[in-house]
């Protein structure tokens, strides 16, 4: 079954001096978020940006895929903590995404965790949608 998710954005003015808002999303979980070119290409200064939202999309998708893979192998994770860092080169696009995950997974060794993390990175739908990014790196480690 197909699932749709929707987001609505309003922009006022030109690119460099104008600004916009992410007005609402399907879930209603956030809204009224300001976006601007300076906040996207320089310092965030409390504003989100498309690249930050992509980081959020990738970190959530990867975490779900990893929990699924681990549980299928009999190792339900106690906790996974994933950060995604998206590097944006204005004029060029997204040049790199660095995924880093720390997992508390009872009964699993480092190799098993690294393998499951590799699989999640390769197979989560957002990874597939971002397959054109030149470099997606992964740092996976177990923590006590």
């Amino acid at each position: 079954m197909a699932t749709d998710r929707r987001a609505e954005v309003t922009w006022r003015g030109d690119l460099m001096s104008g600004n916009g808002t992410i007005d609402r999303v399907s879930s209603g979980v956030f809204g009224g978020l300001t976006v601007s070119w300076p906040a996207r290409a320089e310092e965030p200064d409390g504003s989100t940006s498309p690249e930050e939202l992509i980081a959020a999309a990738h970190a959530t998708c990867f975490s779900m895929a990893l929990s699924h893979g681990l549980a299928q192998d009999g190792h339900v994770p106690e906790q996974l903590r994933t950060s995604a860092t998206v590097t944006f080169q204005p004029g060029e696009g997204i040049t790199r995404i660095a995924l880093a995950v720390e997992g508390k997974v009872p009964g699993l060794d480092d190799d098993g965790f690294a393998h499951a993390a590799d699989q999640a990175k390769a197979n989560c739908p957002v990874s597939k949608a971002l397959a054109g990014v030149p470099e997606i790196s992964l740092d996976a480690r177990l923590v006590g």
């Binding site: 079954m1 197909a2 699932t3 749709d4 998710r5 929707r6 987001a7 609505e8 954005v9 309003t10 922009w11 006022r12 003015g13 030109d14 690119l15 460099m16 916009g20 992410i22 999303v25 879930s27 209603g28 979980v29 978020l33 300001t34 996207r40 290409a41 965030p44 409390g46 989100t48 940006s49 498309p50 690249e51 930050e52 939202l53 980081a55 959020a56 999309a57 970190a59 959530t60 990867f62 975490s63 779900m64 990893l66 549980a71 994770p77 106690e78 906790q79 903590r81 950060s83 860092t85 590097t87 696009g93 997204i94 739908p125 957002v126 597939k128 949608a129 971002l130 397959a131 054109g132």
Partner: protein
Amino acid sequence: MPRVQRQATASWTGNVARGEGSIAPASGTFEPVPYTLASRIGKPDGKTSPEELLASAHAGCYAMSLAGELAGAGTPAELVAVTATVTLDEVEGGSHRIVSSDLRARARVQGIDEEALARAADAADEGCPFSALIKASGTVTVNAELEGSDGD
């Protein structure tokens, strides 16, 4: 221009079917928000999902791109409103894939016709790096109309 980095951190507890997570952006622009599998593939129920975050990113990127194209053509927009709808679907083999992102834009611009807007809308799609990326996995469709025109 210098490289720009943006980060978000997700946590997850438990298996995929019954577990749950939360996601927080480094900018602090919104508080950590929950996500679950049930709310990803069923009703959102007040929780976000990777596809909703992708839709937000794509709508934001495209709105900036279209504003840039219109200004570059000498007809800056007073206002551009963009809705992005991202669709996740099950594909052959039972895996899930992001199959499409549908962009709908409405623009309030003085002194341009539908044809000029359509050109800017296509150029904005080509110029938005996310459109190019998503096309590796699915389709991107663009529909743009002038505010006050017939379809409005």
